[in-house]
């Protein structure tokens, strides 16, 4: 989930296991959320998004769950593969007025998948 300071949360799993990455968001009025994946040396890539009128959305091997009551998002990756090793960020629309597509990003979670 979220992190304060210099150390990102880390998750270490075996290949084939399911992974769950958590994120706490700050703005109860946020109506849209995105998960990004950032591999080493690359820019973040969009994985999946969810609107606040949904509790769950599924993609290919990924599922995002939204709990608005506790302002919590999770990203579930099924049958995790070594290629899933990356930093995962959640993001929500910037809350400070006209946004022009601005996002507020979580600190990120490092996922390491061991063969």
């Amino acid at each position: 989930g979220e992190s304060v300071g210099l150390h990102l949360p880390t998750l270490s799993v075996q290949e084939g296991d399911n992974s769950i990455i958590n994120c706490a968001y700050s703005n109860s009025a946020s109506d849209y959320f995105i998960w990004y994946k950032q591999e080493s040396g690359k820019g973040p890539q969009f994985i999946i998004d969810i609107r606040s009128n949904m509790d769950k959305r599924q993609g290919q091997r990924v599922t995002v769950l939204l709990n608005k009551t506790v302002k919590h998002l999770s990203l579930q990756i099924a049958a995790t593969q070594p290629g899933d090793s990356a930093v995962y960020f959640c993001a929500e629309p910037w809350a400070g007025g006209t946004s022009y597509g601005k996002l507020t990003f979580g600190q990120g979670t490092i996922l390491t998948v061991h063969p």
Partner: protein
């Protein structure tokens, strides 16, 4: 597919130099962003632009300026580079009305 390119993957500059980082996108997106990314601090917004010649400060604009003379191109300028500007710089774009940001590959800048 949206393509966002950045002028350099790696750059080494000396303290006091003027540094230009360029971002080009090919999808006619209205909004463009510059972030820096540092270990443990996540993505921090430096500046963004919502139209040609329009720009707004992000969370950490000090020591930076930007230029957007054409819709597809957004430049980040370090007027006088300092060692604390050593970082990964990421450019992103979105079309108007969307939050789905597309990122470039990043420029790792080292200031010595």
């Amino acid at each position: 597919d949206v393509k966002v390119t950045q002028s350099s993957r790696y750059l080494v500059k000396r303290t006091g130099e003027k540094v230009f980082l360029e971002c080009v996108q090919d999808m006619d997106h209205e909004n463009m962003f510059w972030y820096r990314q540092d270990p443990g601090l996540g993505l921090r917004l430096i500046y963004f632009s919502y139209d040609v010649k329009m720009k707004e400060k992000g969370d950490i604009p000090e020591g930076y300026s930007v230029s957007r003379e054409k819709k597809e191109r957004f430049s980040l300028i370090l007027e006088s580079a300092s060692t604390n500007q050593t970082s990964m710089y990421l450019c992103a774009t979105t079309r108007g009305g969307s939050y789905e940001q597309y990122f470039g590959p990043g420029t790792r800048l080292t200031v010595t």
